[in-house]
Point group: C2
Chain length 307, copies 2
C-alpha cells in the first residue's frame, strides 16, 4: 500500500460531500464510498500533481474528491445495469435498496460533485466534462454490444478507453495542469493515465474470467454471463470456432481451461503488461521522485492485482 | 404562447449539447428534448433576467440551457422509476430502449450540462448545485413514501418543494443574479420561482388524477396506481375513512367523483391558485415590464393548464 500525501483530506471531503438529511441517500452512498475502494483515481491525481512539482495541494485534493465521486456514481449505475448483487464484499446499493433508489443514489453522488466545482481551473473542468461524457458513451457502447461475438479488438479498446481510461487520463493530466507543469509533462501524464486505465481494465476483465470470488468481493464470470466481450474472449473467438460454444456454456472450469490452453488469456495479460509498460515509459520526462516511483508502482499493481 | 427573447438560442444550444458519435445517446436524448417540452424553466431564467433589468443575455441563455438539460435528465430517470411508457405523446426512452440505456441516456443529458459550466457565475453555480441535490432528495423522499396514506400536507409540500420548486426557484433567482439585480429583487424572484414551482406541481398532480389522456400525452392516474400521494388524495384521506378504499380501487370514475364530491379536488386547486398568487405578488418589487407581465402569465398558466 502506497501512502499518498493528501489522501486523508480526500477521505474527509468525500464524507462531507455525502451528507444529506435524506439519510437513505447519504447512508447508501457512504456505505459504498467507505467500503474500501482502492482510491486509484484520487491517488493518480495527487501523485501526478506531486510528481509534476505541484506545491499547493488544495486544488488537487478537491479534484481528487470529484473524480472519486464521479467514479462511485458510475459504479452504482453500472451495478443496476449489470444486475450485480455484490461489490467489495458487500451488497450493492441496488441489491439492498432496489433499482429505483439505487438510480437516485447514483444521481445523488454525481450531483454532489457539483458542490466542489466552484473556482476549479477551467481547463480541468473541461477535461472533467469530456471524461464524464466518455464514461457514459463507453457504457452505452458496451450495453449495445452485449453478445456481439464478432467484436474486434479495436472495438473493445474503444469501449475500454472511453468507459475507464478516459477518467484515469484526466486524473493524471489534471494533476499536471494543477501543478502548472509544462505541456510536455502534461501530455506525458495524460498518456500515463490513458495507458494505466487500459491496462487496469484489461486486467479487470481477466479477473472476472479467472479470478477468485474471495479476492474480488464479487461473483466471477458475471461479464461472460451477460455477454460482455473482453480481450481474452475476443482472442479465443478469433482463434477457434469451438470457442463460442464453450463460452456460452455454464461450464466455468471448461471456459478457464479453454482460455488458458488457447493462449487467449496470456495474450490479454501480455497486452495489459504492454499498456502498463507504456504508462511507465511516459513518466520518463518527469524528474525522479517518490511520487513518480509511486505512479510506476500503480502501473505494476494494475496488472499484478488479484482484486 | 409567450415569445421569450433568447429562447431560440437556448434551443440551438440544447441541440449542440446533445451531439455524440454514439448515435443512440444523442438520438434518444434529442427525441425527448425536441418533443415539445413547455420550456418553463428556461423561460423563467430568461424572463427573470429581463424583468430584473439584465442587458447582456449570454449568461442567462447558457444557464437556461443548463436547467433544461438538468430537467430533461431528471424526467428520463423518473420515467424509469415510474415505469412510464408515454411522455409528451411519444414513447419514453425506457419504453423504447429499455431501462439500462435509458439510465445512461439520462446520465448523458446530465453530464452534457458540465460542458456549459466553465465561466459561470460562482453564486449561480452554487444555486444549481443545491437545486440538483434537492431534486434527487425530493425524488428519493417520494419513492420512500409511496403508499404512505398517512402522509401529511407538510410532508407532501416538502417533497414538492425539493423535487420541483427548487429548480424553478433557482431559475428565477439566477436570472436576477445574472442581471446584477439588488438582493431585494433577487429574493423576490426566488420567492416567485418557489411559489410557481409548488403551484405547477400541485396542478400537475391534479391533472394526473382528473386530466385527459389526449391533453396530457401520457396515461392518467399513474401516480395513484403507484401509491404516490398528492394534495387532493391527502385531503380526501383526512376527511373520510372510506377514501382509502376508493383510492385503492381500479374504479377511476369513482375516484374522480369522490375527489370532487369531498371537496378534496377544489381544495388542491385552490391551494395551487394561492401559490400562483403568491408568486405573482412577489413580482411587485420589480418595475413593470413586458417580461414581468410574462412571468405573471406563467403563474396563471401553471394553474390553468390542462397539459
Amino acid at each position: 500500500v502506497i501512502a499518498v500525501a493528501g489522501l486523508d483530506s480526500v477521505e474527509e471531503a468525500l464524507e462531507r460531500a455525502l451528507a444529506s438529511d435524506v439519510s437513505l441517500l447519504s447512508g447508501a452512498a457512504s456505505q459504498l464510498v467507505l467500503s474500501g475502494g482502492k482510491r486509484l483515481r484520487p491517488k493518480t491525481v495527487l501523485l501526478a500533481h506531486e510528481a509534476a512539482g505541484g506545491e499547493d495541494r488544495s486544488q488537487a485534493v478537491r479534484f481528487a474528491t470529484i473524480v472519486e465521486l464521479v467514479h462511485t456514481a458510475s459504479l452504482i449505475h453500472d451495478d443496476i445495469n449489470d444486475r450485480s448483487g455484490m461489490r467489495r464484499g458487500e451488497e450493492t446499493v441496488n441489491a439492498r435498496w432496489g433499482d429505483g433508489l439505487a438510480l437516485l443514489t447514483g444521481d445523488f453522488v454525481f450531483v454532489r460533485m457539483l458542490s466542489l466545482l466552484a473556482g476549479l481551473d477551467s481547463r480541468v473542468l473541461d477535461l472533467l466534462s469530456n471524461a464524464c461524457q466518455c464514461i457514459v458513451e463507453g457504457e452505452a457502447l458496451e450495453v449495445l454490444s452485449l453478445g456481439d461475438t464478432a467484436m474486434s479488438e479495436e472495438g473493445y479498446l474503444d469501449i475500454v478507453s472511453r468507459k475507464t481510461a478516459s477518467l484515469f487520463a484526466v486524473c493524471a493530466e489534471s494533476g499536471g495542469v494543477l501543478a502548472g507543469a509544462s505541456e510536455e509533462r502534461i501530455g506525458a501524464l495524460r498518456s500515463y493515465g490513458l495507458n494505466l486505465g487500459i491496462a487496469f481494465q484489461i486486467r479487470d476483465d481477466t479477473l472476472d474470467l479467472v479470478g477468485q470470488v474471495d479476492d474480488l468481493g464479487k461473483p466471477v464470470a458475471s461479464d461472460l454471463a451477460q455477454g460482455k466481450m473482453s480481450l481474452a474472449t475476443i482472442c479465443a473467438l478469433s482463434a477457434s470456432s469451438a470457442a463460442d460454444e464453450i463460452l456460452s456454456s455454464a461450464d466455468r472450469l471448461g471456459v478457464v481451461e479453454m482460455l488458458q490452453d488457447s493462449g487467449a488469456l496470456s495474450y490479454a495479460l501480455q497486452k495489459a503488461e504492454q499498456y502498463a509498460d507504456s504508462a511507465k515509459d511516459s513518466l520518463s520526462v518527469l524528474p525522479p521522485s517518490g511520487a513518480r516511483a509511486a505512479l510506476r508502482g500503480m502501473a505494476d499493481f494494475a496488472v499484478a492485482r488479484v482484486r
